[in-house]
């Protein structure tokens, strides 16, 4: 399968969901959907055979938006070469997003981590209340946000 | 050593066991008291059997069988206790009586 074919197929599948599909050589396809259409789009992709999520990346653009990228792919021989990014933007003051655990069980811990470190709420993920990586007693701004500053030293002693 | 020392000892053990059975409410504790009684009984059986060398082996054989049957009794009672515990969540005989019906 070639990249363009896959792109076409995805475009057809996601028709009517308001998805922007773009591709980037050699093997990357970007799908950008709105928050409300996310689950639907994800299920469609899942139907196409993209059976797992490799990574869930949350990106913080301070005062502007959050972006969540689901990097999905497949274990089947025909699709395993390609990566499909499912990208959602969230408003900065309301970082909530429907969880995709139902669609891809493999995002369970990844979503929990993004919640833990970035403070994005994945609605429907059963682990939202628990801390994953930080100590249970941690109480402060999520450390991966840009406003969380770590110490830096210059090159001088 | 006179045999009646043994017999008196067994008598005291027996009374301790009886006291335990009468005064305790926990099923397992009652079982334990019964076991003390069993020990006492065995002791008196053997001390009586030792009086006569003719009866000695017979007493021994009896004791062997008694001991092995006591093991059976323990098995059944403890299993019963487990059953009770599972059904009622308690081993207290008073409580059990209250729950009956």
């Amino acid at each position: 399968m070639r990249l363009d074919d896959l792109r076409k197929e995805i475009e057809e599948k996601l028709n009517g969901l308001g998805a922007e599909v773009s591709s980037k050589d050699p093997n990357l396809i970007e799908v950008r959907v709105g928050r409300d259409k996310l689950v639907e789009a994800a299920s469609k992709l899942r139907e196409m055979g993209l059976d797992h999520v490799k990574a869930v990346t949350g990106i913080d653009y301070p005062k502007e938006r959050f972006e969540v990228v689901y990097i999905t792919s497949s274990y089947s021989d025909s699709l395993s070469h390609f990566l499909v990014n499912l990208r959602v933007s969230l408003p900065y003051d309301d970082p909530r997003i429907p969880s995709l655990v139902r669609v891809w069980p493999s995002v369970l811990y990844q979503e929990q981590e993004e919640k833990d470190l970035l403070g994005i709420e994945f609605e429907g993920n059963p682990r939202m209340e628990e801390r994953l990586l930080l100590p249970d007693s941690y109480d402060g701004i999520p450390p991966l946000r840009k406003e969380f500053k770590v110490r830096v030293e210059g090159i001088d002693a | 050593m006179e045999v009646y020392y043994y017999l008196i000892l067994s008598a005291v053990l027996l009374s301790i066991g009886i006291y335990g059975i009468v005064s305790k409410r926990n099923v397992i504790r009652m079982l334990l008291s019964a076991e003390v009684i069993f020990n006492a009984a065995l002791l008196s059986l053997l001390s009586l059997a030792s009086l006569d060398s003719g009866y000695g082996p017979v007493g021994g054989a009896l004791a062997v069988i008694a001991i092995s049957l006591s093991a059976a009794e323990v098995g059944v009672i403890v299993s019963l206790a487990i059953l009770m515990f599972r059904m009622r969540g308690t081993l207290d005989t008073y409580e059990l009586r209250r729950f009956r019906g």
Partner: protein
């Protein structure tokens, strides 16, 4: 009635526990049967992703290696590949082969590490000692190539840091033959040992369907019969030119997972032989960087076979953009997602390690097993907590 909550005993396995490494498993057991087991990770969370945002691009190389100390090359390679994608450069051929060589040596000793830990988890200290002992010759090779035992930091944007030392190929061949000899004894004493079989066979079965669904990766995936390997799916380094098979097993139990590792060791040895035979001559650093090194240094660098960094490396600037790279490490697929805004440090670096993707298996595989199976399953996953916690 006894409520079911009361019936269970809560066992806290770890963090100070031989079978937990650096994590905590909270097991609810009903007698000898595990009702539920939750991994409690984060004991080695060192915030690699956050630190990457304040460190410069080159400084991140050692940073991403640290989380999975036994399998540093995969992280190193994956990170550098993402960086190279952003920079738009392609390393020279020889460097690609050297990367492959190191990756395969690393795969072997990482697998031996996992097998050794697994051995000690089911109580065979000999398996542990043998695996860790036989790891040493490979470490010796890697050390000769890179100058460090574990933390190689060998792969840099545009190439590698050291050239192949003279005679390494022949020494590698000797090590490989040694390992092949030893394999027989491994099978006699350990893998075919009836006690080992009894402990591992049929324990913690992961079906093919579940493996795919849960997004499992690496040998654990292949042990369930899915022939997925990044080296095939999206070939990188010198893999397109090398011959190798993807090892799979069908059973999906602990023993299959162990067997996949063992057979991958053999497969890696095959790759190493090919690499040594085929490695082309040429530079080991991309010419655009080589140009920047002062000529005098360039000479001595060629002679010693050690790369000197051009001074731009101190403040490497990367064009804005995003890049995703994936690499098949010893434990599975490493994914890097770098978002650059053109500054000295990445804007966001997402690092997804195989162990982190496999955490989900703990809950999944341990439901209804016996307490003694927990270490047997845990060990067979070759799970490395720092890698998951990052």
């Amino acid at each position: 009635m006894i409520s079911s909550g009361e019936r269970e005993l809560e066992l806290l396995i770890g963090p100070q526990h031989p079978a937990s490494g650096h994590m905590r498993l909270v097991a609810k057991v009903d007698g000898d049967v595990v009702v539920e087991l939750r991994p409690n990770i984060g004991y080695v969370h060192r915030s690699v992703e956050k630190l990457a945002e304040v460190k410069k691009y080159l400084q991140i190389i050692p940073l991403v290696e640290r989380p999975s100390l036994a399998d540093t090359t995969a992280n190193n390679l994956a990170y550098v590949m993402a960086l190279e994608k952003l920079l738009g450069i392609e390393p020279p051929e020889r460097a690609k082969y050297l990367r492959t060589l190191l990756a395969e040596i690393n795969r072997i000793h990482s697998h031996l590490y996992g097998l050794g830990i697994h051995g000690v988890m089911i109580g065979s200290s000999t398996a542990y000692m043998w695996c860790f002992g036989d790891r040493e010759p490979f470490l010796e090779l890697a050390q000769e190539l890179t100058g460090a035992r574990l933390t190689y930091s060998y792969i840099i944007p545009g190439g590698v840091r050291r050239d192949l030392p003279a005679g390494l190929g022949e020494r590698a061949e000797r090590v490989l033959r040694y390992m092949e000899n030893r394999m027989r004894d491994y099978f006699n004493l350990y893998f075919n040992n009836p006690v080992v079989r009894a402990r591992l066979e049929g324990v913690g079965v992961l079906s093919r369907h579940d493996a795919i669904n849960l997004g499992i990766t690496g040998p654990n995936l292949r042990a369930s019969g899915v022939a997925y390997d990044v080296r095939r799916a999206e070939p990188y380094a010198a893999y397109p030119e090398l011959e190798f098979d993807i090892v799979t097993e069908e059973a999906g139990d602990s023993f299959a997972r162990v067997m996949v590792r063992v057979r991958e060791i053999v497969e890696s040895m095959r790759i190493i032989r090919q690499v040594i035979r085929k490695i082309p001559e040429g530079p080991i650093l991309h010419e655009s960087y080589e140009k920047l090194i002062p000529p005098k240094l360039r000479e001595s660098m060629k002679q010693r076979g050690m790369v000197k960094f051009p001074s731009v490396f101190a403040n490497l600037r990367v064009p804005p953009g995003e890049a995703i790279s994936r690499v098949e490490g010893g434990r599975g697929e490493v994914v890097f997602h770098i978002v650059s805004d053109g500054k000295l440090s990445p804007y966001r670096m997402r690092m997804v390690t195989p162990s982190f993707r496999n955490v989900i298996l703990f809950e999944h595989l341990t439901r209804g097993v016996r307490v003694a199976d927990i270490p047997a399953i845990y060990g067979s996953l070759d799970y490395f907590p720092p890698e998951a916690d990052r």
